[in-house]
């Protein structure tokens, strides 16, 4: 990481801490904001959060490691999560699975070479009546068929 980038990130975290407060109860909100923008929370970001909130860096790391939507390693610019729970499975999740893996040339858990998309499974999205469902970042898509799923992925920048 360049010094300039580090400084920018520090400033960003400082303004987040100012916005949400220094109290421990603000930690998750701060981490979510960093995650949203950078798609992961780097070691440096974790240390900065810990320093500014007066907690041990390992505390920050342990929180990140607990939540499925927070990452400490870099991911793609867009995170695509396919619901793997039984209702979506019964409505044809497998076909979507095959189609998107083939189209992107990666398996679930992997990121495309151009860092455009990370593919992941997720548990119940609460769209069981309209499966198969998938999240693209925070946006939800339902009643997918292989063609629409591929079109959605290919439209992502």
């Amino acid at each position: 990481m360049l010094v300039l980038e580090k400084n920018a990130l520090s400033e960003e975290i400082e303004s987040l801490v100012n916005q949400f407060g220094k109290d421990r109860s603000a930690l998750l909100q701060i981490l979510q904001a960093i995650q949203r923008k950078h798609k992961h929370i780097s070691d440096f970001a974790q240390q900065e959060v810990a320093r500014m909130m007066d907690i041990h860096p390992v505390e920050v790391n342990s929180v990140i490691s607990f939540y499925a939507f927070l990452y400490s390693v870099p991911k793609g610019r867009n995170i695509v999560r396919l619901c793997q729970t039984i209702s979506c499975d019964m409505y044809g999740k497998e076909k979507i699975e095959e189609a998107v893996q083939r189209e992107l040339g990666i398996s679930f858990g992997e990121t495309t070479k151009d860092k455009r998309i990370t593919l992941e499974y997720t548990n119940c999205l609460g769209m069981c009546d309209q499966g198969p469902a998938m999240l693209v970042n925070e946006k939800v898509y339902t009643k997918l068929d292989p063609e629409t799923a591929i079109n959605i992925l290919n439209a992502i920048k």
């Binding site: 109290d23 421990r24 109860s25 603000a26 930690l27 998750l28 909100q29 981490l31 979510q32 995650q35 342990s62 929180v63 607990f66 939540y67 499925a68 939507f69 927070l70 793997q84 729970t85 039984i86 209702s87 499975d89 019964m90 997720t122 548990n123 119940c124 999205l125 609460g126 769209m127 069981c128 009546d129 309209q130 499966g131 999240l135 925070e138 946006k139 939800v140 898509y141 339902t142 009643k143």
Partner: protein, 405 residues
């Protein structure tokens, strides 16, 4: 937004999905006063709609009675149970009921702050809900001296989860709000005494809170008229799986599984999973049973499987879910669930003895009593009920065909 277009509310009911005018509930609550609110609520017999079924009036009374300068009301919108999506419909279509329920709770227990804990998967709702809160502030339903009531100040903010099923457990949810890993606490102390930041806190399900304005407007006795003696009122059921009309249905408690199946257009049904992955799987011979706290209790998830489904595959899906979602804090749940999944995989490969299966059912029963929170206490339910209720299908061809008996 796509999801708003396709809400899938399938059946209007007498309570939640009925006519309601914004602000009526809060207005009525302020007229009634704290004691009468609790009286009506107690009279209604309303129980927690998340699944555990704790009497709502008792929870509110305990919090109202505790001495503290700060109290909180938390709305649990961490709807993560597989097959449950009623809160999605409530939050998108009836946010006024949910938020007014919180305002009324705040007034009753003497809280100034309400928190809606929205699961990370529902982040797409965040903007519209925040806009809605802003409009409530403009209508003076939130903020200072609400509807002109002196000294009644209350506001709500929304906090997001980050993809952890266990945070639907109330103490794990509080841990998460406090900025920690979402690991359940020992209870007691209960959140009504020691909740968010150590202050008395009411944690209620979205549907529970949404029922409150209707109860106050029409009275506890009216609410009691619906449903059965022990399970009063109506309930939202999230129906998915093999049926013609999946969606959210409002039905009175006491509806039988058969009636429900007919209503949703389910044919050739082999099994119904009631209560999500942590619930029970019922075979055809039990479809006469009724939905309610006295018989088949549920948070509202109904998943329907027809004759073509492989129940072992269903069970494997559930057990994988629990292995992933166990917080790992207590041993019965952390190790137990992996052992149960391992057993399902062994049954798949026909690499097991019946002694081993019986031992694992016993392990399941141990988990039900020894786990720290509801996750580990209920995760063996589907393992035990599917292996017992569908043993013909799962073991029918196995064992018998073995060369050495």
């Amino acid at each position: 937004m796509e999801s708003i277009k396709t809400l899938n509310k399938k059946r209007s009911g007498p309570v939640l999905f009925s006519e309601y005018k914004l602000g009526e509930g809060v207005k009525k609550a302020l007229e009634l006063g704290r004691e009468n609110i609790l009286f009506e609520l107690k009279g209604s017999g309303l129980k927690g709609r998340g699944g555990a079924g704790f009497p709502t009036a008792t929870k509110w009374m305990l919090t109202a009675a505790s001495n503290s300068d700060k109290k909180f009301i938390v709305c649990n919108a961490d709807e993560g149970e597989p097959g449950t999506f009623k809160d999605r419909v409530l939050l998108l279509e009836y946010p006024e009921l949910v938020f007014e329920g919180m305002i009324i709770a705040g007034y009753t227990i003497g809280a100034k702050n309400g928190i809606l804990y929205l699961r990370g998967e529902y982040e797409y709702m965040l903007k519209s809900l925040e806009d809605y809160l802003e409009s409530l502030r403009e209508d003076n339903l939130l903020g200072n001296t609400i509807l002109g009531k002196k000294d009644f100040n209350f506001d709500i903010n929304i906090r997001l989860g980050s993809g952890a099923y266990v945070c639907g457990e109330e103490t794990a949810l509080i841990e998460s709000l406090e900025g920690y890993r979402g690991e359940p606490r020992n209870r007691p102390p209960y959140p009504v005494n020691t909740g968010y930041l150590g202050h008395p806190t009411v944690v209620n399900n979205v549907e529970t809170l949404a029922s409150v304005p209707h109860i106050l407007l029409k009275g506890g006795d009216w609410f009691r008229k619906h449903g059965t003696d022990k399970s009063t009122g109506s309930k939202l059921f999230s129906v998915s799986g093999d049926c013609e009309k999946p969606g959210v249905y409002e039905l009175p408690w006491g509806t039988s599984i058969n009636e429900l199946l007919e209503l949703v257009g389910a044919k050739n049904t082999k099994a119904v999973q009631v209560g999500g992955a942590s619930g029970m799987c019922l075979p055809k011979s039990q479809f006469h049973r009724v939905l309610g706290y006295e018989d088949v209790a549920t948070g509202g998830s109904i998943m329907i499987f027809n004759e073509s489904r492989n129940m072992l595959k269903v069970l494997k899906n559930f057990m994988k879910f629990f292995v992933e979602e166990s917080c790992g804090q207590c041993t019965p749940c952390r190790i137990g669930n992996t052992k149960l999944l391992e057993a399902v995989e062994k049954i798949e490969k026909d690499d097991f003895t019946f002694l081993y299966i019986n031992n694992l059912k016993e392990l399941g029963r141990t988990m039900q009593v020894a786990s720290k929170c509801g996750l580990g206490q209920s995760s063996p339910n589907s393992f035990i009920s599917i292996l017992e209720n569908f043993k013909e299908e799962i073991f029918g061809s196995k064992g018998k065909g073995r060369k050495n008996g």
